[in-house]
Structures are given as C-alpha cells and as structure tokens.
Symmetry: C2
Amino acid sequence: MNIITISREFGSGGRELGKRLADELGYDYYDREIILAIAKSQNLDESYVEQAMDHSMWQGRPLTYRRSFTSSVLFQAPQTNFLLEQKRVIEGIAGLGKNCVIVGRNADVFLEGQTMFHIFVCADMEARVRRCIERAAEGEHLTRREIEQNIRRIDKNRARNREIITDNSWGKGTTYDLTVNTSNWDIKELAPAVAEFAKCWFGRTK
Amino acid sequence: MNIITISREFGSGGRELGKRLADELGYDYYDREIILAIAKSQNLDESYVEQAMDHSMWQGRPLTYRRSFTSSVLFQAPQTNFLLEQKRVIEGIAGLGKNCVIVGRNADVFLEGQTMFHIFVCADMEARVRRCIERAAEGEHLTRREIEQNIRRIDKNRARNREIITDNSWGKGTTYDLTVNTSNWDIKELAPAVAEFAKCWFGRTK
C-alpha cells in the first residue's frame, strides 16, 4: 500500500494537486472526509470542528511534552479530543490497506512507519493571493490585505498544530520528501509531473 | 536555452545529482569550472578562491545594501572581487546559449530572467554525515562531531553569502521551484526522476 501525504501552505493549490494526483494514480483521496469523520464521532457540527482545528490558537500548550503525543491530555478540550480522533481516523484510513492521497491533518506524523511519500506544497504570496481571489465564494469581498492576513494566520496555526505533535518543523525541506513551489505552474500540468516522481519514489530500491 | 540551477546543503549529494542530471538530459555541467575561471581571472590559486568564497565569513557586510549587488564595492576585498567575477562568469556561461546545469554559486540569483529551473537539495543530518564519511579523502579521519560542525559551518556561510545578494532565503521552499530531500534516495535513482520533472517544467505552458 502506498500513501501520499500532502501538507500545504494556504492558497498554494495543495488540495487541488492532491485531488489531481489521486486521479492520475488511481488512488483514493482523503481531505474533508477526515473532518467529517471526526465531527460524526464527536457528534459535532463539521464546520465547528474545522474551525476549532484550523483556525483557533491552541491554549495551555505544555512545550515540554512536544515529543509525546499521548501526554497531550493536558491540552485543553475540545482540541485534544479532535487530535486524538484525527489520529484514530487517519490510522483507520491506512488500515483499509488501499493506495491513497491524504491532504493535511499531519497524516505524515500519525502514520510513521508506513510506505509513504510526503509532499509539501508552497507558493509565493502573490500567487496565493491570486488563487484566493479566483476561488473566493460568491459574495466574499476581502481586500488584498485581509486575504494576506488570513493566509498568514492559517499557516501560523498549521505550523503550531504540527509543533504540538512533532519536532519536524512545518514547511522545512527535510520534513518532507519533496517540496513543490506551485507559483509558476498550472496545477493541471504539475499533477502528472508529481505523479511520475511519486512512481519513481515508490519504485526505488533503497 | 534551459538552465537548471542547483543549490544544496553540504553533504546532501547535490553535486552528484547535478552531474547525473546533466548526463540524463544531455546538458552541459558547471561546478568547479566557475571557481577555476575566477581563480584564473584574478591570478590566484583555485583552492584559495574556494576557501575564501565558501569557508570564510564575510566582513563589513553593509546590510542596508542587500538588494543592490552593484553597491557591493563597499564589501571587503577579495570577496567583493570574487562575487563580481562570479557574476561575470555565470553570465558568461548563460551567454553560451546552451542548456546546462549549474551547481552552487547562487547562479539562480545572478541569472534572473532566464528560462530556469531552480532546485534545492537537502538531507537530514544523519544522511549527510554518512555521505561525508563515505566520501572522505584518504587519510581524513574526522569525528562525527567534527563532520557535523563542518556541515553546519559551511551551510551557515552559504546562507550568509546568499543573504548579501538577495532577499530570497537560502533553503526556503518558495526560493526554488523544487526542493528534494535525498535522505532516502540513491542519487542514481533520483536523477532520472528529477530529470523527468525538469522536462515537464520546461515544457509547461504557463
């Protein structure tokens, strides 16, 4: 079983790349399904779970416990429950034994030991703002400054969420197997290139 | 004309990847040739030039002039001369109009505006130390601690050398088009994968 995990900067096109990569390779694809499963298990609204996991800052974070996820019971609820549930859901996906692409949710950390290919997707601020504007929901009219603020805030939270469970820094080259800068790509053209690279990765002898 | 530039962490196998990539693609390859050309033009010993550029710290660096390379005459000689000569040599290589791979020397900064693909090569410390031990010159018996110190010192200098001439941070994902972590690759197997990716890059429509 091959698992591709995708971590991404907000607005970099990581989700689209993951979806297209799954299509190219004929893999299953998991993204919002993880949030849905957590919401269901906790009997909570999906958007509440997403908001709590992605957008709110963590409180009472005991830094000395970074290396020990199981010690995280000291974290404040409900985030702790969500993290434990997230781990359970991601392990459940891996337990299905099927090739898949998992976007976000620190799947690379929770699944250590599996046959995995870890990708980080980034882009310069200009490209990310452009992408956010192109994909804004109808009626959403944020200024460029507000979009940039959103991008920085979400990325900061992603980095912090990761910091709680691992020492491998979010966004650092050696944390992943491949880091792709999408600034100068059409994701449609990038996906086959990354798919070929992933095939080489899973086929290597080392 | 396609130019691939390779920046790399010391011990990550970036030079070997560059050489193999050039072989795979039938491109010219430049690495020590740049040092040689600078040494010749300055009538200096090759190893002296390399030492001065890679291993010594820069003195009197006027931080306010980071964005303006041409203002760098305020830097202390001989490093200033070397940087100017390096720029001239790299521009000369591009002027030949042939597809090529250039390893190191901040070629990506000096050649802005060309059709280029920028790669950063990294690896975790364990893999880099192992590589340094495997490739140590005969009679060289550094301890693991000394090797790690060398790696950190050389990388620090590479980052600082870059900082003088550009605002794009050394090693940051968005500074390059692709970042490859070689820790779990045999470079022989990695080179064809990167070559295929590069072909997609140069063939893209965006």
